[in-house]
């Protein structure tokens, strides 16, 4: 490891390493006994190829099976590459939403979070987020990575981070059990707490989920407060359709920057909204390529769909911190060309995978 400082795995966020070199370096890191994680070193035995020799570049990532389901049970310590040493600097263990069963877990080392937040902060500058502002985060504080990204963003790009906690799993459960009134009361409780912070603190940046932003927009006093104080809103967690975004930009928060995130704990990060999307067009999300990449594919054949067509989103994460290729997400998206020189796809018009709907006959003419 004498030349580790030159590895494509250790470059700063804006270095733009060659994707194939990055993948080869990642294979060496994750599948060499001295540096790889116990999980991957064990898993390598049951792979039908040799990652060290058969994976020659980015395109070969598709050789890997989707191991995301295995991350529901594996001990978290087994996911940490040994190359981080005896006392790795770990920011936290993070969990997926748990919508499709037990939560999946990933471990986030500090070097990765720093690199991700540096990249994200540069995006915020492009979108016109004011530096040094106080941030209000209406997002889960944990166990999802969004809370950690919020805190790091607030203290590096802004000044202080004020948080309101949010438990999306409880909300999903209330809704699934038909207890809509309780879900509603919980959401109002969250907004009440955010309102208190908005009233008393000089909040300049707000991070929030689209459903909660809709609730804020229904309270005239909060709309006024946001318009008076908040210069930029970062939204994420669920989707915002183009018509809703347009209403915010033209009618409700006309002087506030609106910037979307599309992320997943399983990629240890986020994709950011492309700057300059015309009003009314679905926002395009660009990834932190080549570390985090998307491919928009036909779910049956696995082949990429044509640009402009809808397909299912496959996510790859390739970094020193984590190797998680070929993770088929529940979301569909329209395939958009990535920015010049970037590998993978960008994604627009994110939507959940459609449920199959049979032609049902309902008795009665209504």
């Amino acid at each position: 490891m004498a030349r580790a400082e030159l590895s494509p795995l250790d470059l700063p966020h804006d270095a733009e390493p060659d994707p194939d070199e990055l993948v080869r370096a990642a294979m060496r890191w994750h599948f060499t006994p001295a540096t790889g994680s116990p999980f991957w070193l064990r898993r390598a035995a049951s792979l039908e190829f040799d990652p060290l020799t058969d994976v020659k570049g980015y395109d070969d990532l598709t050789l890997f099976p989707n191991v995301a389901n295995e991350l529901r049970d594996v001990p978290a310590a087994d996911l940490v590459p040994r190359g981080y040493g005896e006392h790795p600097d770990i920011v936290g263990v993070f969990e997926s939403g748990g919508t499709t069963g037990a939560p999946k877990r990933v471990v986030c080392p500090r070097d990765w979070l720093d690199k991700l937040v540096d990249w994200s902060n540069a995006n915020l500058d492009v979108h016109g987020f004011p530096r040094g502002a106080d941030w209000l985060g209406i997002t889960p504080s944990g166990p999802h990575i969004v809370g950690e990204i919020f805190r790091r963003s607030a203290v590096t790009h802004g000044r202080y981070g004020f948080q309101v906690d949010l438990d999306p799993r409880w909300v999903k459960r209330l809704i699934a059990e038909g207890r809509g009134a309780q879900a509603n009361a919980y959401a109002e409780h969250v907004v009440d707490q955010a309102a208190h912070i908005l009233r008393t603190q000089p909040i300049g940046v707000m991070t929030v989920t689209p459903p909660l932003l809709e609730r804020i927009a229904q309270r005239e006093d909060l709309v006024e407060l946001v318009n008076e104080k908040v210069r930029a809103i970062r939204w994420g967690g669920t989707q915002m359709d183009a018509d809703t975004e347009q209403l915010y930009r033209t009618d409700i928060f006309p002087d506030t920057v609106l910037y979307g995130h599309y992320g997943s704990t399983m990629i240890l990060g986020i994709a950011g909204q492309r700057h300059g999307t015309p009003l009314g067009e679905p926002c395009v999300f660009d990834t932190f390529s080549p570390y985090i990449t998307f491919q928009v594919v036909d779910p049956h054949s696995g082949a990429p769909v044509a640009y402009g067509r809808r397909g299912q989103v496959v996510m790859h994460h390739v970094s020193k911190a984590l190797l998680l290729p070929n993770n088929l997400e529940r979301d569909t998206a329209i395939r958009v060309a990535a920015p010049d020189g970037r590998i993978g796809d960008s994604a627009a018009g994110i939507a959940p995978v459609e449920r199959f709907e049979d032609e049902a006959v309902i008795e009665g003419v209504y």
């Binding site: 809709e214 927009a217 229904q218 359709d241 183009a242 018509d243 809703t244 347009q246 209403l247 915010y248 009618d251 409700i252 009314g280 067009e281 679905p282 809808r310 329209i334 018009g349 032609e359 006959v361 008795e363 009665g364 003419v365 209504y366």
Partner: protein, 464 residues
Amino acid sequence: MGTAPQEDSNPQVPVLDALGPSGAYRTHNRQQILDVTGAPLAEMSLAPALFVNRTMKALRGAAPLPAPERAAALARAGELFRTATLGGFSPQEYEQAVTRVSGLPVNVVRTATRTCAERVGQSYRSVLFARPDGAVSDWRDPLARTGQALWTRRGEVLAVHVPGNHPGTHGFWPEALALGYRVAVRPSAREPFTAHRLVLALREAGFGDGQVALLPSGHEAADAILRGADLAYGGDEIIRQYADDPGVLSLRPGRSKILLTAGTDWREHLDMIVDSVVRHGGTGCVNATAVLLEGDPAPLAGAVAERLAALPSLPPSDEKACLPVQSAKSARALETYVLERARGTRAWLGGTGFVDELGDGSAVLRAAVHQLDAADAPQLGAEMPFPCVWIAPWTRADGIAPLRDTLVLTAVTEDEALIDALVAEPTISNLHIGSHATHWHRPGLPHDGHLGEFLMRSKTLVRV
């Protein structure tokens, strides 16, 4: 029906916009409206929940028009609905569009236009039939000086989730405007043209943008319409979900029926029976779903089948069309369902299928006639969106149990004790005695109770 959210808009077809507090609102998210052959006929803007919530708030913030203006505007709206070019559609173009997407025969659609216009035009008058005799509508009424019941709204904003089975269903909800409600209408994705035309007519007639709104919407935003209103009325999937809520008036299947007791000769009433089954294309809740006969039902079933078998299979736009048309796919799904449902019955017509494909992707739903063994057969209330009638024997021992849960019951009988029991039965909504078709109706008469009974209450008022 063939409707699907789509990403690429089609510049060739008209767009039906949402109609919000500041006029027409066109969205990027649209639903394609396909005709029965699968050809795109229009696109419908789908308002997001954020827009719905803001519209509901604006409706709540608007003051109702004074009563005389409401009466005048409703009269004008009925006339505009019947005669004006609205949203780029002349009356004929509107009727063509409804015919093409609903598959209802064009003559049925024309009749519905006239009926709907008449109902809307008279709704200020008709709604007053629901007012208790002892109540007045205005606190300034001199009777209030000595204490009087005052008829008042139960809320301010009504959500209307219209069913798409027949354009005639739109004739009733404007009564809410007559009462001073502000109204948000969610059109049916199956047939949104009538709701769009009616809201445009009402706005042009004098109800401002803040009084009545059109909110075409997907599931989530449609839910927001209901939640943003004080009361809701209609018959879509959202209403069904909240049907038990006392603030929701859910339109239920009609399961309309005809009963002929011994001593009546069914041959004298055959025209009325066939007409009850097939008028309006047989798609209404007021069409007869079942006929019960005290006596052997076989000859009656045979005669009804013979009459219905003679009806031609024609595309809905044909002047002579009288049977409904759907996309071949949904017609086949319905056929499979009905054949399965009819298992164990005696088929007189349509027993091996009733779908007649027209070769352009659409299919005629020809009539089906089945004879049941007994009045308590489970098929008796199986209401279908085409002329599909179940004919069963009825005996005194059956009593009124098989006649329950009926929107309109035509009872051809002179048995006053039986009539007493039918009048008293709370689940029979309307009773026609003698040879009146099940679809008989006049403005001012209740359809399933007066809408005013749901929208209004009486409170005591006394002044010094």
